[in-house]
């Protein structure tokens, strides 16, 4: 049975029909990618899963159970999200310590000290970062804090919304490696949204291409690597990702 099962999801914001009938299923321990350009609805799918966007029609099931709106507190201990912009996703007046211990306080954990220290170590930031404010951190360090925050409640599902697109290439590599390592260590299930085919190909076993709120096609990583796409749109994306070529029309 798939861990995450979405059938015919529709999301409407007033007159805007952002997601039009998307279905996907992700098994436990898998990394699933969603690729698309801006306005394709890829992030909205992610936000619908965690309840930040309204589900207008269709269903989202985790472990066979349809999610309620609003989500139950237990949901947040199963699924967490990492946002795109590490400069916007951390509260500017809260120290790293506060960011990491607040979820523990909300869910009534007792051994907060130890958990915060462990979470920092797990994402490769030592004790020295614990009492810093976001403005004292680089972009990559902030994103590590965001990952630590997402993992501190020990969820099994991580929703990654363009987690590296705001970072420099060398920092991107570090964060991708971190996410990769955490997944294999903890058997996490990922849904990764990105506009970058190379990132998705590197991280995910399967992926879905989206355009205008609809799924264009679903591919396995091997298909992508061999450039075996059946749809023109996917082929265009693949060609564009190779960089500029003068020969093309």
């Amino acid at each position: 049975m798939p861990l995450i099962d979405i059938t015919d999801l529709h999301v409407r914001f007033g007159p805007v029909h952002a997601v039009r009938g998307v279905s996907l299923s992700v098994t436990e321990g898998e990394a699933f990618g969603i690729v698309g350009e801006s306005g394709s609805g890829k992030s909205t799918v992610l936000r619908a899963i965690c309840g930040l966007a309204p589900t207008s029609a269709g269903s989202i099931r985790i472990d066979g159970q349809t999610l309620t709106a609003p989500r139950r507190p237990a949901f947040y201990r199963r699924a967490q999200m990492v946002f795109q912009d590490p400069y916007a996703s951390l509260h500017p007046r809260h120290t790293v310590d506060k960011v990491l211990s607040e979820p523990l306080a909300i869910h009534g954990f007792s051994d907060r000290e130890a958990r915060v220290e462990r979470a920092l170590n797990d994402v490769g930031l030592g004790h020295g970062f614990r009492f810093r404010f976001p403005h004292q951190l680089s972009g990559g360090q902030r994103q590590r804090v965001a990952v630590a925050r997402a993992l501190i409640l020990e969820p099994e599902i991580l929703l990654l919304d363009e987690p590296t697109s705001a970072l420099d290439a060398s920092i991107q590599a570090e964060v991708l490696n971190l996410l990769d390592r955490l997944r294999s260590e903890r058997g996490l299930t990922y849904i990764l949204v990105s506009h970058d085919l190379a990132v998705v190909s590197h991280m995910c076993e399967r992926l879905m291409v989206m355009q205008h709120g609809q799924a264009v096609e679903e591919l396995a990583r091997a298909d992508l690597q061999a450039h075996r796409a059946s749809q023109d749109y996917t082929r265009n994306l693949l060609a564009a990702s190779e960089g500029f070529s003068r020969a093309a029309p």
Binding site: A169, S170, Q172, A173, D180, S201, M203, Q225
Partner: protein, 275 residues
């Protein structure tokens, strides 16, 4: 033929820990070609571009042993001289069209105003504007002319912006991350437009970007910047034979569609590069 000659350009900003040199002794010559400047955030690539146009923020100072555009010394150029040069002979395209286009004026007014710098005749300026929008592959120029910037999509806005910068047919265009805010497929289209303009009009182009792969596929030559310094200059086609460890590290740490190493090689920075 040398269009731009830069020798030992430095840009300094004051900070709490004393003056901070964000651009350090950058030298290069530009002909009628595509030159890429690549670097990560904080490498000084954008400040280099701004300093050439005399757009260094007022808190900073730019110095150079030589800064010549077509034989004109830019270091001591007066306001009047800059007015004649900027926009007319040298232009700049910024990353986000939202910040560069005036939000309360239609594209029409902004374009025609720019066009009238070279043709005082209003009707002629308008014709030229329409032609320019067509040249940047806008299919419905009349509609775009009537629109306000916020009514255009990102790609359209960036094209309108490029049209505005190119309408005066400048000899030098500095494009600072002109396509980073755009989708990949749109990105390629915008690059194609720039490419045509360089080839057909013999314009010099400085293309500033963080995207090494894109720059190497688009430009003729590439300067790689690190901590304010040019660490390597090489022909774009020879990027795979780069010598400097930073350039090689930057190339290596990019994930690849057709598989690659796992985990990704990371960049080990060396203090000595910044010296």
């Amino acid at each position: 033929m040398t269009l731009l000659n830069v020798e030992n350009l430095s840009v300094t900003f004051p900070s709490r820990h004393g003056p901070q040199r964000v651009v350090r002794d950058v030298s290069f010559r530009l002909g009628r070609e595509r030159l890429g400047i690549v670097g990560e955030s904080g490498s000084g690539k954008s400040q280099t571009g701004r300093a050439i146009l005399g757009l260094t923020p007022t808190s900073g100072t730019a110095t150079a042993d030589r800064l010549e555009f077509d034989g004109i010394d830019l270091r001591n150029a007066s306001h009047a001289q800059w007015r004649k040069l900027r926009g007319a002979r040298m232009s700049m395209v910024m990353q986000d069209p939202k910040f560069s286009l005036n939000p309360v004026m239609t594209i029409d007014r902004q374009l025609v105003e720019a066009a009238r710098r070279i043709t005082p005749n209003r009707a002629e300026a308008r014709d030229k504007s329409l032609a320019m929008l067509e040249a940047v592959q806008i299919r419905d120029p009349a509609r775009v002319m009537a629109a306000y910037p916020h009514e255009l999509s990102g790609g359209m806005g960036q094209r309108a912006m490029i049209a505005m910068m190119l309408i005066t047919e400048p000899d030098l265009l500095i494009a600072d991350e002109p396509t980073s805010a755009l989708d990949v497929t749109v990105q390629i289209e915008v690059l194609r437009i720039l490419d045509d303009l360089v080839t057909s009009r013999g314009m010099g182009l400085i293309f500033i970007s963080h995207d090494l792969r894109l720059v190497s596929s688009f430009c003729d030559r590439v300067l790689v910047m690190y901590a304010g310094r040019v660490v390597e200059e090489l022909r774009a086609a020879e990027l795979s034979q780069a010598k400097h460890p930073y350039t090689r590290g930057l190339m290596g740490c990019l994930p690849r569609i057709d598989g690659g190493t796992r985990p990704l090689p990371t960049l080990q920075r060396d203090e000595a590069w910044a010296r």
